[in-house]
């Protein structure tokens, strides 16, 4: 029978962001991954850190894929908030490359910080220079992280690193740590121009 387990650790070797997320999570932590897709990140965290992970996924096909990958997955719509989840009932709540596709951005980030002791948010940086240059050339940007055409994109809230920094400041959110990556390599010089993927470790300000 199909009891064979996908090898999440092997598959994640191409995902530098997974390894960096893992650095921000303690072994055995209770983790909630919002918009978990097929469960690859949670599978990796479980197999490397033995986290007690749960995914949240709205889409039927993704939900089923997660379940088949032996991920505990809860079907619900993030846009309705995380009502039912108690305050600080998770060590970490993750929103991995999903921020740009949510409608109620402020509400979801606030819910993440309510339910989790910490939150991890990663998103494709819209300030990355190849995207800027596509816009200067007169077209909506398309890239590996943003593979959609303007007419079929699920992304509604694209932002830059500068935008998100301002967002955190305005909403009194503490940025504990930030990584910026391009093709898996860390970027520290002019990250908003040279960085393709932004990763934030967040906490509610006291």
């Amino acid at each position: 029978m199909s009891n064979s387990q996908p090898n999440f650790v092997e598959a994640a070797k191409k995902r530098r962001d997974f390894a960096l997320i893992a650095k921000w999570i303690g072994a055995g932590a209770k983790v909630l991954d919002l918009g978990c897709g097929d469960g690859a990140l949670l599978g990796y965290l479980r197999d490397t850190l033995e986290v007690r992970g749960y995914g949240v996924e709205k889409d039927d096909a993704n939900w089923l894929a997660s379940m088949q990958n032996n991920i505990d997955v809860i079907q619900m719509d993030l846009e309705a908030g995380l009502s039912g989840f108690d305050d600080k009932s998770f060590d970490v709540v993750i929103l991995s490359q999903t921020l740009q596709a949510v409608q109620n951005t402020e509400g979801i980030i606030q819910e993440m910080l309510r339910v989790g002791r910490e939150a991890i948010v990663t998103f494709p940086n819209f300030g990355y220079w190849p995207l800027r240059s596509q816009l200067i050339a007169g077209q909506m940007p398309v890239s590996e992280n943003l593979p959609y055409q303007w007419y079929d994109t699920p992304n509604v809230h694209l932002c830059t690193i500068k935008d998100f920094d301002e967002f955190c400041e305005k909403h009194n959110i503490r940025v504990k740590e930030r990584f910026v990556l391009t093709n898996g390599h860390p970027i520290s010089f002019m990250p908003n121009l040279l960085g393709s993927l932004a990763m934030y470790r967040l906490q509610q300000s006291e």
Binding site: W63, L64, Q68, I74, F85
Partner: protein, 378 residues
């Protein structure tokens, strides 16, 4: 019958238990029978058993046919069989009729051995906990120490949940479908109307109608008609019947005029002809009483702390009698305990009845989950 995914012909079996069963109410059943069916083959390790718990009006005949000429398969035949989501090529499936039932297990209509007449009103009221105890004894009888899974919808889901609390070491997986951690006041209210319909029927005779050679058919019929309204969604009823007139025009009468009335009367008549009113009363009471959080001051998470099983919880979007919100309460309590749980909210139009329908996504979920279950020795 030539269908290769059908169990084919099955024969019910009866297990007699002569060891008394002390019930939650304090009453005692000195001895009792449980009628059951099994599908598939128990493996040498006895590690591949799955128990099916039935809901309000269910019974032990969950799959297959009783004879060559039997037109109607068991009530969950779309789920259980060779190659079906609950694959009997892999699992040994046990389905039983709960105590108090009217399909062969000891119940109000069976003979009380001490009195040599039907139990009638004297048959004790049973709880979900009592049923689970009797199911555990059936597992003992079959030599099964641990069940790979217990599956149930609605009231059956409550039994699957209670298995994880009464016998945490004897169940590996609990599948709770269209269920709830207790009934809301509104849900219990429907049960009360159903019971009142039966109890106030002049032919009820306080529950001892067997002696009078009658059955409270009118009451049971109305109870069932009410139930059917609550098992369907407004949309499903609209799609199925709408305001369709049976004969195309209004007749200014109280006969069947709308198609919906025809359906309800048919369902009511059919049920009243084959089901026992005393059983119906007891099944609804078991639903009302179930509340594992009660002794934990309403804290469901505390009540579920002793569960060790892995859980799959499924609800249906249009089910208002056992709404998704009630399933989410169970999921939340399991999350609080860091239990392994997956939860699917299946988009379905059929209301509570959806748990018996072969919706492709719903069945894919069950198929995938059963495939994931590791059988010891396999």
């Amino acid at each position: 019958m030539s269908d290769s995914t059908s169990i084919g012909i099955v024969t019910p079996q009866v297990a007699h238990f002569s060891k008394l069963l002390t019930l939650k109410s304090g009453e005692v059943l000195p001895e009792y029978d449980i009628v059951y069916e099994t599908y598939g083959t128990l493996n040498a390790e006895k590690s591949n058993a799955v128990m099916i718990c039935h809901a309000l009006s269910g019974n032990h005949h969950a799959a297959g046919f009783h004879s060559e000429n039997d037109k109607h398969p068991g009530w969950w035949d779309n789920l259980i069989g060779p190659g079906k989501p609950l694959d009997t090529n892999r699992f040994f499936v046990i389905a039983l009729n709960n105590l108090g039932g009217c399909h062969g297990s000891s119940g109000p209509a069976t003979i009380n051995p001490a009195k040599q007449k039907p139990w009638g009103a004297t048959f004790p009221l049973l709880t979900v906990e009592d049923w689970v105890d009797s199911q555990a004894r059936l597992a003992d009888h079959l030599g099964i120490e641990q069940l790979a899974a217990v599956v149930g919808g609605s009231l059956g889901g409550m039994q699957a949940l209670q298995w994880t609390l009464s016998y945490p070491d004897r169940i590996q997986h609990a599948l709770l479908i269209a269920s709830a951690p207790n009934l809301t006041a509104q849900n219990m209210a429907f049960n009360e109307v159903a019971r009142q319909a039966i109890i106030t029927d002049p032919e009820f005779y306080g529950g001892d109608y067997y002696e009078h050679g009658v059955v409270p058919r009118r009451g049971l019929r109305i109870a069932r008609m009410l139930g059917h309204i609550t098992y369907l969604s407004d949309d499903a009823m609209g799609a199925k019947f709408g305001r369709k007139l049976r004969e195309g025009e209004i007749k200014y009468s109280f006969d069947v005029e709308f198609e919906m009335e025809s359906y309800l009367r048919y369902q009511g008549d059919k049920f009243a002809a084959e089901f026992d009113a005393n059983t119906y009363l007891r099944m609804t009471r078991a639903l009302d009483y179930y509340d594992p959080a009660l002794e934990y001051n309403g804290n469901l998470a505390a009540a579920l702390a002793r569960a060790k099983a892995k859980f799959l919880v499924i609800s249906f979007t249009s089910d208002w009698r056992f709404s998704p919100a009630r399933s989410r309460e169970i999921v939340q309590a399991l999350l609080d305990n860091k239990r392994s749980v997956s939860y699917a909210e299946v988009t379905a139009a059929h209301g509570h009845d959806a748990f018996l329908m072969p919706d492709p996504h719903y069945h894919n979920i069950l198929r995938a989950y059963f495939r994931k279950i590791k059988i010891k020795g396999e």
